[in-house]
């Protein structure tokens, strides 16, 4: 455990870089969206009432999807820190297992902390009527639309999932370079294609549809957590074979 902690500190030794970069990008995205929403006319639609036709501000507001940027950044950071720092860690007598565990623990801690911040920002967004401009930046229909603790949970799990996925890519790239990363991508696409063909050949589309429409946000979170665990195991099996 001590070594895990030291590995996590090792990733953060250039002060705060992996911690702050996602928020820097997210802030840029947020500000751009805020400016657009402030300049653009509010979404109005006409409603026939007993007083005649009146214009009413659209209560649903506009969804930006801008929060996705932090998820992408988690993928990028997971991929970039793992391979770049591996050779020096091994030179200092750290085992691959400890290195991987420490790196994953850092990702998990970042995911939980940042998920909480996202949930808090979502609460602010709700209480300020979308930052005063009806902007839904931190709210995403269906996925991030529940109570704060569910937003926290779902965000954390999704961030951790992308971090772990990024780590796996980073390890493959470290070991087998661009060709390996390309082959890794092709293998995943093949897997998806096989799944699609399987569903199509068994005429199971309606079953799949029912599965996803019946899935609650909490159920989806569980599904993401399961995927994260699979990716974590895959990355571990890969780093065990990595040489520097």
């Amino acid at each position: 455990m001590r070594t895990w902690r030291d590995v996590a500190r090792y990733h953060l030794v250039v002060p705060w870089a992996p911690l702050l970069i996602p928020w820097a990008i997210l802030t840029c995205s947020f500000v751009i969206n805020l400016v657009i929403f402030a300049l653009a006319p509010t979404h109005h639609h006409n409603v026939m009432t007993s007083h005649g036709l009146v214009s009413v501000a659209d209560a649903t507001g506009g969804y930006t999807g801008g929060v996705a940027s932090i998820y992408v950044l988690f993928l990028v950071i997971g991929a970039s820190i793992i391979g770049r720092s591996l050779p020096f860690a091994l030179a200092l007598g750290v085992s691959r297992r400890s290195y991987y565990a420490g790196s994953a623990a850092l990702g998990a801690a970042m995911a939980v902390a940042d998920g909480l911040v996202l949930a808090a920002l979502q609460a602010v967004e709700r209480s300020t009527d979308g930052w005063g401009v009806h902007m839904h930046f931190f709210q995403v229909p269906y996925v991030l639309a529940g109570p704060w603790y569910l937003t926290w949970l779902t965000s954390s799990v999704a961030l951790a999932l992308l971090f772990v996925y990024g780590m796996w890519f980073g390890i493959v790239y470290r070991r087998w370079n661009l060709i390996g990363a390309a082959a890794f991508t092709v293998a995943q696409l093949t897997l998806v294609l096989a799944a699609v063909l399987l569903v199509a050949s068994t005429n199971a589309w309606s079953g799949v549809g029912h599965f996803f429409t019946g899935l609650t946000a909490a159920g989806l979170t569980g599904l993401l957590a399961g995927m994260a665990a699979l990716l974590l195991a895959g990355g571990h099996a890969t780093i065990r074979r990595a040489t520097v």
Binding site: T3, D6, R9, Y10, V13, V14, R84, S85, P87, F88, L90, A91, L92, G93, V94, S95, R96, R97, S98, R240, R241, T243, V244
Partner: protein, 297 residues
């Protein structure tokens, strides 16, 4: 006593060549051992396997009696300084700080003193260091770590003679203060010869010679003089290398020479020059694989 490093029948095969071919060796705890050999002899591959960075194709490797591969208890007692070490994007002081976390016996004073000795700027980004400065950083980490098994692989590429002397002096001084097992691979053999207690010579993936450094002094002698006199003197002896210039010839004779031999050489007007460690390694690396076995038989 359990040897610090014990390797038996180690082979590492890559697709089209054999980097290590049935390598067996032992390194006693608390000694400074030189790993010598030409480029491509397999030195770096051997050291990478010892430190768990690379995996063997077959054979056994034990460090302090246990397999090092993914063995945290063994690995944390080792440090590996490589010529081609890659670092993350950070500064010299970050590299030292990180290294200090992983070694309980980290000597910060020594690290500071070495930084000053080498003129290494702590605030400089590692990727902006010159080749020599980058080597110096590796040396600082390797010495200050005070790891029980310290492995240097060509640690001083690009370092000037003064800096190399600093390395030798500091290494010996710190070794005296805290004995440990030091394995040093190098091309600059005669320069390092003074600090090596044992030498292991590799060639084309095999160990061709393992000996105490002291035993090697005087093990081979260059005999030069007129062709007939040299031939008379060397008759019946194992001879390695023969160079002829006009009517003179120079021959390397293997095996110690006694006082009678020296007197005889003197009366034949022959020059006797003991081979330096470096010349010996060059000979070892250019002879058939069993040359040394034949001499010891």
């Amino acid at each position: 006593m359990i040897p610090a490093i014990s390797v038996a029948g180690l082979t590492r095969r890559y697709r089209d060549h054999v980097a290590l071919d049935q390598v067996s060796l032992e390194v006693e705890a608390g000694s400074i051992v030189g790993l010598l050999g030409r480029n491509g002899a397999g030195k770096t591959t051997l050291l990478r396997i010892l430190t768990g960075q690379e995996f063997p194709s077959s054979g056994a490797v034990l460090v302090h009696g246990a397999r090092p591969t993914e063995n945290a208890a063994v690995l944390r007692r080792m440090v590996f300084v490589r010529e081609d070490q890659t670092y993350p994007d950070f500064k010299v002081r970050h590299a030292l700080l990180v290294a200090s976390w992983f070694y309980p016996h980290w000597n910060a004073e020594l690290a500071d003193a070495l930084l000053a000795d080498f003129g290494l700027p702590a605030g400089r980004a590692v990727k902006k260091l010159s080749r020599g400065m980058r080597s110096a950083l590796g040396i600082v980490i390797g010495l200050a770590a005070r790891a029980e098994v310290t492995i240097f692989d060509e640690p001083y590429a690009g370092l000037d003679a003064v800096a190399r002397q600093i390395f030798y002096d500091r290494l010996l001084a710190d070794y005296a203060e805290q004995p440990r097992t030091i394995l040093l691979s190098t091309h600059l053999i005669d320069e390092a010869a003074g600090l090596l207690e044992r030498v292991i010579v590799m060639d084309r993936g095999r160990i061709v010679l393992t000996a105490d450094a002291d035993d090697l002094r005087g093990v081979a002698t260059a005999v030069s003089g007129p062709v007939l006199a040299v031939d008379e003197f060397t008759a019946g002896r194992v001879v390695w290398d023969r160079r002829r210039v006009a009517s003179r010839v120079s021959v390397v004779v293997v095996g110690g020479l006694d006082e009678a031999d020296r007197l005889r050489a003197g009366s034949l007007h022959l020059d006797l020059t003991p081979l330096t460690l470096q010349q010996l390694v060059v000979q070892a690396a250019t002879q058939p694989a069993d040359a040394f076995e034949r001499t010891s038989a």
